[in-house]
Symmetry: C2
Subunit: 322 residues, 2 copies
């Protein structure tokens, strides 16, 4: 199955998720509603809702509306973190359009994020039990921690690789695992399937973030909607850089060039060296290993269509160019 | 009962709440933990925990630990909103000490708020059912809306009084009502008591915020830990101002003087006029009416000690000077 076929197969459910999202961000406060709708209509892959919905297919309960609401809640949590991250990163564009922060300012962006987070948890409480709530709230706390660890480790070329992996687990992988968990549980999948999907989501999320970090080096500005090597420019050292500075031949010299206040030109040169030494390629291989692990997580699941759908998601994450 | 006696009577429970707070904000991420502990140790009245605990006394279930955890969760939500509000207001001090934002910067303050919010909801999920979660999350969304409406109405002297009352209901009163609700429900109080306490909390919260807004005019900088008329300086027009600009004699001239870019001297003059024309006094009377309503909410409750304890909280809120 190709991911396009999967999106097509799920289009009814995904459309319902969009409707719920539009309903949920409706607010008497015009600025809040404008900013939320702007964010919503900027689009995105809706990967988390997709993963919630497909996970739900592994369950025994056919309550599509609950599943769609859970899917919308997960997307809103993701949107909330994007708005806040843009404030932190002082990002002016995302997906090629001005960020909420750039269009409305930090203050509105901050409350829009808080609002989306609160609405998401309110929505989730309609369909999820106490334990799911706990896991979801914990994942959000971990995401904050991940972002702060990232701030703490800016420009630290000597940081252990383990810190990178822990950071992306917190920042990205956990919410993907929670998406699988929520979908499977809301649809009352059996415990073995829930556990397998939870693990799958974690590995999928790790692969997703590493690919994202690789794209920062290999993508083009026109496709990404943001400048190339923008992570590096901000001092956020991702897997390709951390592998490159470990290279025997050029690692040390490269490390010396990475510091606050690098010019765009210096950043471009470092990025070029990171690619040239093969570190980007090796980061891709690491992502691929997570894809393989995720694929193995699917093996014991007894539902063929669901496995193929998740394979399609995996294939898409591994091969995407934005 | 005096409020000091109440704090004394509840000191065991309140101490347990402090312990839980310290445990819950513990984090591997040092900056996050430092900022959270700093915030925690800055103190505060712990009014929301107190109200949760006293509400719990109206219940049938003696599970003190669950109640203490719920109380800690409510305080963490309150703390989260304080950190974010300080970012928005660009506040340098709170309670006479530098704010988290001033000490660590906007970025850490933003994630500290998100973290506290997520941890609070995680903690709440241990003790509260789905419905309580929903009400709490909705209250947080309303708080965001209230803050945004406040931003929207800055310097708008012609705003209807109703907007002010709606704003403070969203910003403050709702979380106080939720504190009562959570306490009563976690302790399994009967439905009539739950409803009465919910209403009481709302009225208590309204009185609390109006008194707060009055103190901005009548308090001294040394006692408040922030400059006098700081709301007015930022363009946040509270009840005393909104009543003053409705005065037949001086209202119109006063309204003309309220605008962005007022000097500290101009603000001081406007504040003086607001007090001189009796508007501050009348705002106090409005607060008093909410105190009276809250007192009436207590009347049907069948538990004398609990009623007296809540009366003590009310008396404290009405008479406080900071």
């Amino acid at each position: 199955m190709r991911v396009t076929e999967l999106y097509l197969a799920m289009q009814g459910e995904l459309r319902r998720v969009e409707e719920i999202l539009e309903e949920e961000v409706a607010s008497r406060e015009p600025a809040l509603q404008d900013a939320s709708l702007y964010l919503l209509r900027a689009g995105g892959k809706r990967l988390r809702p997709l993963v919630v919905l497909v996970s739900g297919r592994f369950g025994r309960q056919g309550d599509g509306e609950s599943l769609a609401r859970a899917a919308a809640a997960l997307e809103m949590i993701h949107m909330a973190t994007l708005v806040h991250d843009d404030v932190i990163d002082r990002a002016e564009t995302r997906r090629g359009r001005p960020t909420v922060k750039a269009a409305w300012g930090d203050q509105l962006a901050l409350y829009t994020g808080d609002f989306l987070l609160a609405r998401a948890l309110e929505l989730l409480s309609e369909v999820a039990d106490r334990r799911l709530h706990e896991v979801t709230a914990r994942a959000i706390a971990h995401m904050c921690r991940g972002e702060l660890e990232q701030m703490h480790d800016l420009y630290r070329v000597e940081q252990p690789l383990l810190r990178y992996f822990r950071r992306i687990r917190q920042k990205t992988a956990l919410l993907m695992a929670v998406s699988c968990l929520v979908g499977a549980r809301v649809a009352r999948a059996d415990e073995a399937a829930v556990r397998a999907l939870w693990r799958f989501g974690g590995h999928l999320g790790m692969a997703f973030q590493i690919v994202d970090d690789v794209l920062d080096f290999t993508g083009s500005e026109a496709v990404l909607g943001k400048p190339v090597a923008s992570d590096l420019l901000q001092g956020n050292l991702t897997l390709p850089v951390l592998l490159a500075v470990r290279e025997e031949a050029l690692g040390r010299r490269l490390a010396e060039r990475i510091r606050p206040g690098m010019t765009a030109d210096e950043v471009a040169k470092v990025a070029k060296a990171v690619t040239a030494c093969g570190a980007v390629e090796r980061a891709k291989q690491v992502a691929h290993r997570y894809v393989e692990r995720a694929r193995r997580d699917l093996a014991p699941l007894p539902y063929e269509w669901g496995r193929e759908a998740m394979e399609a998601v995996l294939g898409f994450v591994a091969a995407r160019d934005r």
